[in-house]
């Protein structure tokens, strides 16, 4: 607990990683995209259209040349580009119909289709002015009202209507952030617990290489006691780390009930035991600190990636089969059962049995090959 580097690794890093993932994906409530537009018109209405699209939250505009657009469409670098033809503004100003051209591949991809509908929405506002003026003129024909008067009245009323439309839009959403937290938080906690426990192997190897373990054997301690002492301290460290991270999540996200929190702590101590057993195996097989480091990093990254930490693994897939060798898979499933599905600890018994099995088998194997003194039997 006094090692600042280890503390940063054990507590700060998971918090930072989760904050990063939450910032990147959890709080995302806005569609974001870049609209590629070729403006061959450069007239007033093209300008208004581009400004309108650019002013939509989450949408940015990339003005490109026709040649660039064709090259990128040809290479599939872009799926949809809006072409504003050279005579767009002049045609509209003359009171005739003007055309916007969407050059696209297939349906334009999902992003292209959404962008297309947004562009049509902005163009619809320009169209609205012409449509209203034209219809009002037709209705009032022969009544001696000048075009200018009609134009001013229509513009004023349209502005007022846009400020306060008679028809509004209300959005009610469900799910979102809580789902994200329940989905990813257990994975990130288990990732860093496994990481720090497996990295503990380096310390044991260092103590063995420096003769610290050998010196301890000159006291009343025997190898077995030394081994289990190291194991228990590693479990305790993992449990404290998990406890702090889960308690923080409880306080910040209110994601637990008192009962589910207690159930999560039980899962935590069993997972910490399994992870510590793996750490002991790494410490037993590694001859140098560097070897312990690399094995720990490789094992952890493999377990994390296959354990469904960052992405859902489809049931029955090859990845799901490979994921069965990852202890994170079982810990993450157990946490999700308790936290997001409101399940009881009893419902997680298959996962807990596997984790206990890994802890027991790992302890037996590591005890068999553990050496307190380099080269001893």
């Amino acid at each position: 607990m006094r090692d600042k580097g280890d503390l940063a690794f054990a507590l700060l890093l998971p918090i930072l990683t989760f904050a990063l993932m939450y910032g990147a994906f959890g709080g995302q409530t806005l569609f974001t995209a870049t609209a590629s537009i070729v403006d061959e018109d450069r007239g007033i209405y093209a300008e208004r259209l581009i400004e309108g699209v650019d002013s939509i939250d989450g949408i940015s505009v990339d003005l490109i040349t026709a040649e660039e657009a064709d090259t990128k469409l040809d290479r599939s670098d872009l799926k949809m580009v809006l072409f504003i033809p050279p005579d767009f503004s002049a045609t509209l100003a003359s009171g005739a119909q003007a055309e916007l051209v969407f050059k696209q591949r297939g349906n334009g991809g999902q992003e292209g289709q959404i962008l297309s509908s947004m562009i049509q929405g902005v163009a619809g506002q320009i169209n609205q002015e012409f449509q209203v003026s034209s219809r009002v003129k037709a209705e009032l024909e022969g009544r001696g009202i000048s075009e200018d008067t009609i134009g001013v009245t229509v513009r004023n009323l349209l502005a007022a209507e846009r400020q306060q439309p008679a028809l509004g839009v209300d959005e009610e959403v469900i799910g979102g952030s809580p789902d994200f937290i329940n989905q990813y938080l257990p994975g990130i906690v288990t990732m860093y617990v496994l990481f720090s426990l497996s990295m503990m192997a380096r310390t044991i190897v260092e103590e063995r290489r420096r003769g610290t373990l050998e010196r301890l054997l000159t006291t009343r301690l025997n190898v077995g006691e030394l081994f289990f002492g190291k194991f228990l301290s590693t479990v305790a460290r993992g449990f404290i780390q998990t406890f702090i991270l889960l308690a923080l999540s409880y306080a910040v996200f209110q994601m637990f009930t008192p009962l589910s929190f207690l159930a999560s702590l039980v899962i935590s101590i069993i997972f910490a035991s399994a992870a510590a057993a793996l750490g002991m195996i790494i410490a037993s097989v590694s001859r140098t600190e560097e070897a312990a480091n690399w094995i720990a990093v490789v094992v952890t990254m493999f377990m994390v990636m296959m354990g469904g930490t960052f992405f859902e693994v489809t049931e029955g897939s090859v990845l799901a089969t490979i994921g069965t060798v990852s202890i994170n898979t079982y810990a993450n499933e157990a946490y999700k059962t308790v936290i997001s599905q409101g399940g009881s600890l009893g419902e997680t018994w298959p996962q807990l049995v596997v984790l206990v099995g890994v802890a027991v088998v790992g302890l037996i194997i590591s005890r068999m090959i553990f050496r307190a003194v380099p080269g001893s039997k």
Binding site: T17, K72, Q128, I150, P165, M305
Partner: protein, 414 residues
């Protein structure tokens, strides 16, 4: 000349150690490819799908109301008749079932006409279209909001036509009866014909289809992402061996020969650069030959960015080694910085999917500039000029890290 020879020898020594260290070779060259294989297979086919957007609509009004006319005119009766990019409109006739489907995760969201929609149209009172959606379904919500805006716009058009006609008639001295008559006529027309009564549109749209959507090769994103991460990781971890050599006085002993402090620093730096170059040659080699990655329109810029990433990472390694005292601190900091900067800089997921604030924040990492450059070149068909900011940023990071490294570099452990 002598200095150069020393630099060469030290760099060659470091490179030999690297090539003979199986653990390092595995971790920095083979291990990244496990990730690349994994994510490449997971992301296979993404972006290749080009399904039409399906827009679900419902109404709370009884049959015969205006919303039923609108829904009837919008509903897609035959998908085969749709043009490229046209959405499929689905009329959800059971509002409660649609709501339940959203709650169960079977439907991402839908748009509903309220119970007083027709009444509001007739009287001009205010009402609201309702969107009920899953918060995480950002695209669906954008589409539903777009459709809702379109309906609002059409209704507003009709309303302004009536208001303008009435106002102008009043100004022209028309009688109350004449005004009432035109309001009634237009209202009847608009409510009777749904949303298409205002007349022909002045802006029309055409689709110029130039072929089908082609799936993006995920390796075009995955390979450069892991290249950036592991080139930086390998260099950062090299700081550990620099500290070790300083602690066991290897660097001091080198000074006892004719090697200068500058040539030792130069040798360590050149060795780190050489290792990085070996990494990028292998990454791009395997990427081109096995994963068939596309270097884009400016392959020279891709190579330049890779080399800059290597020299920047090596400068970081030297700087890190000068900032820490113990091997353990160097190892911990190397892992921590590598694991924080990689996801923040867009090595695990493309940073262009981040929200704007996070994209801005990520710019404090060299990784973000490098991955942004690679993404522009390899995913979006950018040319050399488009990645000049990334090139300059990596140079700036190199200068800053290098300057701190040179300033603080010492050969003794005390």
């Amino acid at each position: 000349m002598k200095n150069l020879r020393h630099i060469w020898f030290i760099a060659l020594k470091d490179l030999k150690i690297f090539t003979r260290d199986r653990a390092s070779l595995f971790f920095f060259i083979i291990f990244p490819f496990l990730f690349i294989f994994l994510f490449n297979s997971l992301m296979q086919g993404i972006e290749g799908e080009d399904v039409r957007i399906r827009i679900h609509l419902a109404t709370l009004e009884p049959a015969g109301a205006v919303s039923h006319q609108i829904l009837s005119s919008l509903e897609t009766k035959d998908e085969a008749l749709l043009g490229p990019g046209d959405p499929v409109f689905v009329w959800e006739r059971n509002y409660n079932a649609a709501r339940m489907a959203v709650e169960d995760g079977d439907l991402e969201g839908f748009l509903t006409f309220p119970t007083d929609f027709t009444q509001a149209l007739m009287t001009g009172s205010r009402t609201e279209l309702l969107i009920y959606a899953d918060a995480a379904a950002v695209n669906t919500r954008a589409v539903l909001n777009g459709v809702a805006s379109g309906i609002v716009s059409e209704i507003s058009t009709n309303k302004v036509i009536i208001s303008a006609a009435a106002e102008l008639l009043a100004k022209s001295g028309a009688t109350a009866g004449e005004i009432e008559a035109i309001i009634s006529k237009l209202t009847r027309e608009f409510t009777g014909q749904g949303m298409s009564a205002a007349g022909p549109a002045y802006i029309t749209y055409s689709i110029d289809s130039i072929g089908e959507v082609e799936a993006e090769n995920p390796a075009n994103f995955v390979v450069p992402g892991y290249l950036v991460m592991f080139v930086f990781f390998a260099a950062a971890v090299a700081a550990e061996s620099i500290v070790k050599e300083r602690q066991n006085n290897t660097l001091e002993r080198l000074l006892a020969t004719s090697a200068t402090k500058e040539s030792i620093l130069g040798g360590i730096y050149a060795g780190s650069v050489a290792k990085g170059l070996v990494q990028i040659i292998i990454f791009w080699g395997v990427g081109l030959l096995y994963f068939k990655i596309d270097l884009g329109l400016a392959p020279g810029a891709v190579i330049l960015l890779s080399i800059l990433m290597v020299i920047m990472s090596s400068a970081f390694a030297v700087m890190l080694a000068t900032l820490v005292r113990t091997v353990r601190s160097a190892a911990s900091l190397a892992v921590i910085t590598a694991l924080i900067l990689a996801p923040l800089g867009g090595c695990w997921w493309p940073s262009f999917i981040y929200p704007a604030w996070l994209q801005n924040m990520s710019k404090i990492t060299p990784h973000a500039w490098a991955t942004e450059g690679f993404n522009k070149l390899m995913l979006f068909g950018a040319d050399f000029g488009d990645v000049v900011p990334s090139i300059l940023a990596l140079l700036a990071f190199t200068i800053i890290f290098g300057a701190i490294g040179i300033w603080r570099f010492r050969t003794n452990a005390v």
